[in-house]
Symmetry: C2
């Protein structure tokens, strides 16, 4: 077997940009075309025409379900929404301890505990079916954990999941204790579907590196949640809404934008590292927002128009268009989600994409273990006497 010293080290761009670390049949992003897909289907088309469970099935099984498969999958995943008693017992303490660090840190802890409680075994030791069973259990419980932690932080009792509601509607139900209006449940469902996966981002890569060691499903997901919580990755759909708040009124749009663009600040909700065109998720979410209508939507549309124009004028050639955060925040606000739950809601969808990636990685027995180049003072220097 070769060693690091026998093989010439391979230099690659910083941050592994453009470096192909694996093959995947889960999906991809075509940034120049403003298009992304899950398996062979347009993600936006799936969000427009299918339910969350259909897409979840597609991600896990590689194919959309037929009617019988849908019924079985929906029933199976709904039954997995309940928390084990020992996890439910620990949630108040987790919510209390996470008050300073927020809901993603709470989810990180609670999902770690749930995986341990469920006795998740190392992926390496499991059959593909058993791995998928663990992944179904982990995904199904995320909305329950998130909403319970949120309610506990508000001094409210958690709401038990309902089996008769689809994933998205049940999420809103557990958050508020009230059955959501169908139009709001469907808007959130479309947002969730559009957020299930999006190329090979840092949290997905984290999940796959951990999976490559053969660790258990919770170990992989907890790492991914950690990566998503990073400011350079997860972003915050609430930030774009904060920008709307900061602008305040329609008459202040141009002045505010000119001032902040002119000062070289990044305008939250605009620009994406991959898309040169409009982000395809934005277009869909804008349509959903406009179907609700109202002052907030009119204002957001006006800010978008002026920001597009002013960014083109003041930052020519940069192709800064609205990204997914901009109208995602508006849609979630319209659907009654509190701002601190915007990124956790993102996580409630992305957990399905992470899991699909973990299941795919687990088919490969090769550990992901790159190298670093030592650039410190040359060893060995004798250790001085203490």
């Amino acid at each position: 077997m070769p060693t690091t010293e026998q093989n010439a080290p391979i230099d690659v761009p910083r941050g592994l940009k453009g470096v192909i670390v694996t093959d995947t049949s889960i999906g991809d992003v075509r940034g120049l075309q403003g298009f992304y897909h899950y398996r062979e289907y347009s993600a936006v088309e799936l969000a427009e025409s299918r339910g969350f469970e259909d897409v979840w099935h597609l991600m896990f099984h590689g194919a959309l379900p037929d009617a019988a498969e849908r019924a079985a999958f929906t029933a199976r995943t709904a039954a997995l929404r309940h928390l084990p008693a020992d996890v439910a017992d620990a949630l108040p303490a987790i919510a209390r301890a996470s008050a300073l660090s927020g809901p993603l840190a709470g989810l990180r802890t609670a999902l770690s505990l749930t995986g341990a409680s469920a006795g998740f075994r190392p992926l390496y030791d499991l059959t593909p079916d058993r791995r998928r069973a663990d992944a179904l259990a982990a995904c199904a419980v995320v909305p329950t954990l998130l909403t319970a932690l949120h309610r506990l932080a508000q001094g409210l009792e958690p709401v038990e999941p309902r089996h008769d509601l689809p994933y998205a509607a049940n999420y809103l139900y557990m958050l508020t204790g009230e059955e959501p209006e169908p139009v709001r449940a469907r808007a959130v469902e479309r947002y969730l579907i559009s957020t299930v996966d999006h190329g090979f981002n840092a949290s997905t890569f984290t999940a796959r590196v951990i999976a490559s060691t053969g660790a258990d499903l919770a170990a992989c997901l907890v790492g991914a949640i950690g990566a998503l919580s990073g400011p350079l990755h997860g972003g915050a759909p609430s930030r774009a809404l904060d920008t709307l708040d900061a602008i305040g009124t329609p008459d202040r749009i141009d002045g505010w934008l000119r001032e902040h663009i002119g000062a070289g600040e990044r305008i939250m909700g605009f620009g994406h590292p991959v898309y040169r065109t409009e982000d395809p998720r934005s277009r869909m979410l804008k349509g959903i927002a406009q179907s609700f209508g109202g002052d907030l939507v009119d204002f957001a549309v006006r800010v978008e128009e002026r920001a597009e124009a002013l960014l083109a004028e003041l930052k020519p050639g940069r192709e800064l268009h609205i990204n997914v955060e901009f109208f995602a925040g508006v849609v979630m606000e319209l659907c009654g989600l509190p701002r601190e739950m915007f990124t956790p809601t993102f996580a409630a969808a992305r957990v399905v994409g992470w899991s699909a990636n973990i299941l795919e990685q687990a088919e490969d027995s090769k550990i992901i273990r790159p190298s670093a180049r030592y650039v410190g003072p040359p060893p060995p220097v004798p250790v001085p006497a203490a």
Copy 2:
């Protein structure tokens, strides 16, 4: 800014083998020379001549401490060993829920909770000093969490940390409730020092990927713990001891080894992906074991001799020598550590190496985000009606 499609994708070996993903001044492994180092010093020499706190200071500050720095660092880290009340309150529930999944899953949950409770902020938002403060707090509390979870799982009360004992001795004290014999505390301390870091392994890489998103210290460490728990990474020092148990008596050594080597089985405790020579950690640990003496040590030495000879005879050219697991297991057994705590004890040392890597990564503002190649059916296929 370029996009994936504009730049030619860069193909690299599977598992990123030999791919240089970063520069580091923390340390390195020279597999052909049987040598590894922390900063500019031989790790084994550090283990032979220094205390754990000295090496921790070296990893965090880049230099060994002088007497005044040692006193201050020791006092500062000892004061950080206590658990916040809300974490201590949650530990019984975590221990109960982790009964099936073991102590690393318990540590993963408990350290996640501790970071949230301590209000760790994203690395991205912190000064280097503040990041280091979070890292000190996280490392200092790991032995407390591990021993408390272990005792709770045994139906025992956790033991409060003592400030007057060094890191290793306090770990053994919290585990057993009794002040350890100095020779045992020192043996464990040398093991811990030798295990702080070891090149760019999968858990260290995981920690750095998460750190590259700007996430908080606990997010990074929890991912690393997850990766360490993978069978392809963390290994299990207890497995080599299980091999000794399976062989049973000196007269069965040759027969057992010939049978299992002949069947193509991997002999636990032998062989390493990087070292072609004897693992330098093994040599040191064997010396420690021999300083204890006794039947187990004599038996282990005899097994090593015969396994080396028989592997050379039956697997010529493979250079299968004992690895760190073999005598690490023997030393930990002699020091009274229960087998289920062998890998957690490894984690109690490695957390310092992970943290040093996280602190180094946090100085780089570039997210680690590679690419994947989509190889599934070409999109877009129209989504069929449900």
